[in-house]
Symmetry: C2
Subunit: 381 residues, 2 copies
């Protein structure tokens, strides 16, 4: 697959998104408010809304000025709670709004689903209902991370779909992340980095060195730049656009970054409340601080994207309010409109062939090395 195949194309007619209205901390009110905010800005947006019909009809009716004729309600009484175990939901989840939202993608009624619910359950259900793309060993969750890049964000994956990843998984994450960066961030030629404890090629675990080699070899055919190993400090930096790592490390990094930002935010508020001049200062700086807050507001980059399945699922933060839901809907629209799911599938299919080619090549090289004996002593004369 060439890069041009991966480019954005405008879909015909309205884009239909499948929305799980339940399971978020703020309830269906925040979800309906969120889709309403998005619908107001974007006339091409239509929705399948999953949850208890009575509740949803009442909420949609209230915003009929914007939502009339654009929302189809799919009745689903069950709700997956934040404490439900993924294994239980897989067995008994039929009839929940989450199951229904995913099945709409499975049945081809929408190409992207959005849910604020339990991440583990959402991933488990997505795996069993949508199934993995042919050739994908482990799906991944990709997020956008505020960074020093011109586009303001980096893509990082996996941030927690799976705690393990071998070299081939990491190559696949790289290729999926690149496709996401093209379609989600409109980057023509993304720069890819592999997360490690140092940038020198000899550093890190064995699977990382192997993945380094695989991603470097694949860069020749695909339209991306491989910058090699990157460090934790580069996640919010400007050395690459796509950061590849296993789900264990990615999850820890994500939560460490969020925790650090939150601590600094609280200390900043404390600092401004400290004295009369500092309180006055906070009033004067209000506009600037709001801009800063908006720049690093996690709600604005709300949406972990599940990659590697037959269909795309956007996981909104569980605590998302209407602003957060609207951001997740905007991302889902962008991915649906660009035909991302099909493009990703095509890219993964070509990647599978590519990995086989690379492995055959590496094997042939090793073979050739063995088959060429050292020059015998006598022939030197």
């Amino acid at each position: 697959m060439t890069a041009s195949q991966d480019r954005k194309t405008k879909a015909d007619g309205p884009v239909v998104l499948s929305i799980d209205a339940m399971g978020g901390d703020e309830g269906p009110e925040a979800v309906v408010e969120g889709i309403c905010a998005s619908a107001e800005k974007n006339a091409d947006l239509h929705f399948l809304l999953h949850g208890p019909r009575d509740t949803l009809e009442r909420l949609v009716e209230k915003r009929a000025d914007i939502l009339a004729g654009r929302v189809q309600i799919r009745d689903a009484d069950g709700v997956v709670s934040m404490t439900d175990k993924p294994s239980q939901v897989m067995r008994n989840g039929k009839g929940t709004s989450m199951w229904s939202a995913i099945d709409a993608v499975r049945d081809g009624e929408a190409t992207v689903a959005v849910s604020c619910g339990n991440t583990g359950a959402l991933m488990a259900l997505s795996m069993v209902r949508l199934r993995k793309l042919p050739g994908v060993n482990r799906p991944a969750i990709a997020i956008l991370w505020p960074s020093r890049n011109p586009q303001g964000f980096n893509v990082m994956l996996d941030v927690g779909a799976d705690i393990r990843a071998d070299a081939e998984d990491l190559l696949q994450y790289a290729l999926m992340g690149i496709s996401y960066a093209r379609n989600g961030l409109s980057l023509e030629r993304p720069r890819v980095g592999l997360l490690n404890v140092g940038t020198e090629e000899h550093k890190g675990r064995a699977e990382l060195k192997e993945a380094h080699d695989l991603i470097a070899r694949a860069a020749g055919d695909a339209n991306y730049e491989f910058v090699g190993f990157v460090e934790g400090g580069d996640i919010p930096g400007n050395v690459c656009d796509v950061i590849v790592t296993d789900g264990f490390t990615g999850n820890i990094a994500l939560k460490t970054g969020e925790g650090t930002a939150s601590l600094i935010g609280d200390l900043l508020r404390e600092a401004f409340n400290y004295s009369l001049p500092s309180r006055l200062a906070s009033v004067l700086a209000l506009g600037s601080l709001k801009r800063l807050k908006k720049r690093i507001d996690p709600r604005r980059v709300n949406g972990g994207v599940f990659l590697g399945l037959n269909g795309t699922v956007v996981k909104s933060h569980g605590a998302a309010d209407a602003t957060g839901v609207s951001a997740a809907v905007k991302l889902a629209f962008r991915l649906a409109e660009s035909g991302f799911s099909d493009k990703l599938a095509a890219r993964v299919a070509s990647a599978t062939e590519q990995v086989q080619d690379i492995q055959a090549e590496a094997q042939a090289e090793a073979q050739a090395g063995e088959d060429t004996p050292e020059e015998p002593e006598e022939s030197r004369s």
Copy 2:
């Protein structure tokens, strides 16, 4: 070893620290300024200063008002640079200021060494010159992390001494971290958390579940509280005081946190420069912002501590200025004065026995399970 053995005791007479004057980005000037700042506040501090005699004599002479009679210079012409490979330094590093500074600890002239130099080389030299404590498999680097705790900091280890750690290593990190928290942060009964991708006991890699069991079992005898698994967001939080992880994950988390803090700092500066009111605000808020900066200033918690060796090595940041060096010296003094090296050795020795006891116990339990056959059918009647 009981907790009381682990408590701070005042050493007799002055405390001698072994200081590598070279290898930092700011040169020996910053190091001499830094020890001078510490010496001025603390009359008990004496120094062995390692580096080229002429340079150091000139710098110390300038600050004779404070340093006279308290600094012994050890001539060492060689300097380990930031780009030197650890393996090369291990082979050819004799005659460098770093080697000399470590050897002063090896020879018992000081119990703690401080260096701003190349971390990899410093760890490699510390390993070969000081050697690991009996019973320690992998030494660890512990750092202090700004947090919501009353003491303002958490201890995290390992942040990069080794990229691997098995369950027993993680138990040892826990016990070393506890000892460090007692002596470095004066916490009587530290709370320990094991870093994972979720707090539920079934989550994470196999070695983490095993380590969870080992640390929980050891908590009965030692004077600490085990809070179980913690997440990345808890690193700057208030659920524990000591965060245990492998050096790969710890290094990524540390650098991600630093990178995030640095990005926010830059965006904050940008925000304050944005308009005339915001610039005025920054003047009004100057005092409060300075306090905030001081609270999260990495220079104030400057010093990764190498644990698990015969002697303690404090690694100051390579870019440390006089303030940073002085913070590292303060930490080194605190550890030297409390007799930390000896206490840690005693604790590790007792931990080694403890691990053996726990393993024997677990084995016996498993054995007992096997030895008790299910009740035979006939006896039920």
